[in-house]
Amino acid sequence: MRLNESFRNIKAIQKRELYGYFGSPVAYVFIVIFLLLIGFFTFNISNFFEAGQADLNNFFQWHPWIYMFLVPSIAMRLWAEERRLGTIELILTFPVTIAEVILGKFLAAWIFIGIALSLTFPMVLTVSYLGNPDLGAIFCGYLGSFLMAGAFLSLGSMTSSLTRSQVISFVTAAVGCLFFILAGYPPVTAILSGWAPIWLVNLVSDLSFLSHFISISRGVLDLRDLVYYLSVISFMLFVNAVVLQSRKAA
């Protein structure tokens, strides 16, 4: 009974949030910039055509970097905006639990990013036309990219709940994302590997979105990578709930 109610509430909140995205210019600006940037990096920086390979590695490798600042720009409004408008006072006094509100908002933003991501489908058509790509690997790439976006988003949702300023929320989320990317970047692990014990080096690089993303986008669907992303998301949203519970009126 309570479970049904929970689903109903999450769905209602999620619907309203999505409505909010498409009711304002935010959605369209985001989608256009996302597609422009990803096209620019893939074709002009990575020289997709000259590479002569029928895969999307040159496409997927840019996703973490683009997400790094585009996802926080979506996530920053999640809670900071509610605080600024004062609507947080209403939504948290409705007969819904904090978890339901967080999940509803998170899912809406995640679905929205999923929509933007799915609009890159001409890339798949292009490689399929040019050669014989491994569609399984491409599917994994998209799945990995979507999961990674979710992880970035959960981090952004959490930082957004800390403040009523969207700027602060954006900057802290972007820096957080950068940390999660760089933790697995070879130059960074190289700095560590000179002196730190090997378990620490592994721990830091295992924390990275990058290492998990790379293995998925190569077509290796490892349960550990899935578990990793889902645990990052759960952890961040849990912290989000703790922050909201303790600082509702901030």
Binding site: K15, G20, G86, L90, T93, P95, V96, K248
Partner: protein, 310 residues
């Protein structure tokens, strides 16, 4: 029944609400009055479960606000200060959203939202984006949200703030109309509203309750209550003062103004509950004063408010 016992709230070192207790029953409209920063909004936020109390208990309909939070929140309608609503939604979509959260299913939802829109005079703007509405309409949209599910308990934080006189009148009328089956708490700065709407008034200052009385009871605390305002023509102010002071039951008479031979006087009785108007009138006539006006003061809330809260 809303029952509040020994409620306190601390923000760091500041005590915003200090050990207040009161209860509100069905059919009552409780006016919550106090200077800015007295703790009105903080109290209301605790009653609606938005912020937890530092000490004390709140029971609504027999449920504890902390232990049965969801149960309680289903029975409350809340209009927060400044009436926050999502600016990027259409009025009707916003109310549909609130209705879904309140658990209405399709047919009932449509009917309820339509009814509420009509009740709150929003029919002409229901397809408009909330952002394009005037402050008065936004306030009414948020008000509509609070009564959508016909809650037995209504908590309204300055529901008439920012409305024009006609809209204020409408909102007051709606509150009065609905109060028969509800327990209503509403806060305001506007003193006439208390007299017009409330069955009971609590005045809060610096976090503590300083008065809990009916509006009539509060008026009785006014120094002016029971005194007689008298305006006479062609009279000498000292002469008439002496004359009035000799009436049995009159404590003292003060001269308010004396211009162009028109004298305005205030006659205070010895005991507030013994009317002296007829005696003053008789004395004035006996001495051939031309009485322009005479009436008994009902007391003034602003005066009471100032004495109590400062």
């Amino acid at each position: 029944m809303i029952e509040i016992k020994n409620l306190s709230k601390d923000f760091a070192a500041i005590r915003a609400v200090n050990n207040i207790s009161f209860s509100v029953g069905k059919g009552e409209i409780l006016g919550f009055l106090g200077p800015n920063g007295a703790g009105k909004s903080t109290t209301m936020r605790m009653i609606t479960g938005f912020i937890p109390p530092s000490a004390g208990t709140i029971r609504i309909g027999g449920f504890d606000i902390l232990k049965n939070s969801l149960e309680v929140r289903k029975q409350i309608g809340y209009l927060p200060e400044n009436a926050p609503v999502y600016p990027d939604m259409k009025v009707i979509d916003y109310l549909n959203f609130c209705g879904q959260i309140r658990g209405f299913t399709k047919a009932a939802l449509k009917r309820t939202v339509e009814n509420t829109i009509e009740k709150c005079f929003l029919t002409t703007v229901k397809q408009q984006i909330i952002n394009t509405l005037s402050k008065g309409y936004k306030q009414r949209v948020c008000f509509a949200q609070s009564i959508l599910h016909d809650p037995p308990y209504l908590i309204l934080d300055e529901p008439t703030d920012g409305l024009d006189p006609n809209q204020k009148y409408e909102v007051r009328r709606m509150i009065k109309e609905m109060s028969r089956e509800k327990a209503v708490i509403f806060s305001t700065h506007i003193l006439e509203e208390i007299q017009d709407v409330c069955t009971r008034t609590i005045i809060i200052a610096k976090g503590s309750i300083v008065a809990d009385d009916t509006p009539a009871g509060l008026l009785k605390r006014s120094d002016l209550y029971g005194s007689v305002s008298l305006t006479v023509e062609n009279a000498d102010s000292n002469e008439i003062t002496n004359c009035l002071n000799q009436i049995k039951g009159v404590e003292t008479t003060t001269i308010i103004s004396d211009e162009n031979e028109i004298v305005r006087l205030q006659v205070y009785p010895e005991t507030k509950d013994t009317p002296i108007t007829d005696k003053v009138m008789a004395a004035a006539l006996a001495n051939n004063y031309q009485v322009k006006s005479i009436y008994m003061e009902q007391g003034r809330l602003d005066e009471v408010f100032r004495t109590i809260t400062t």
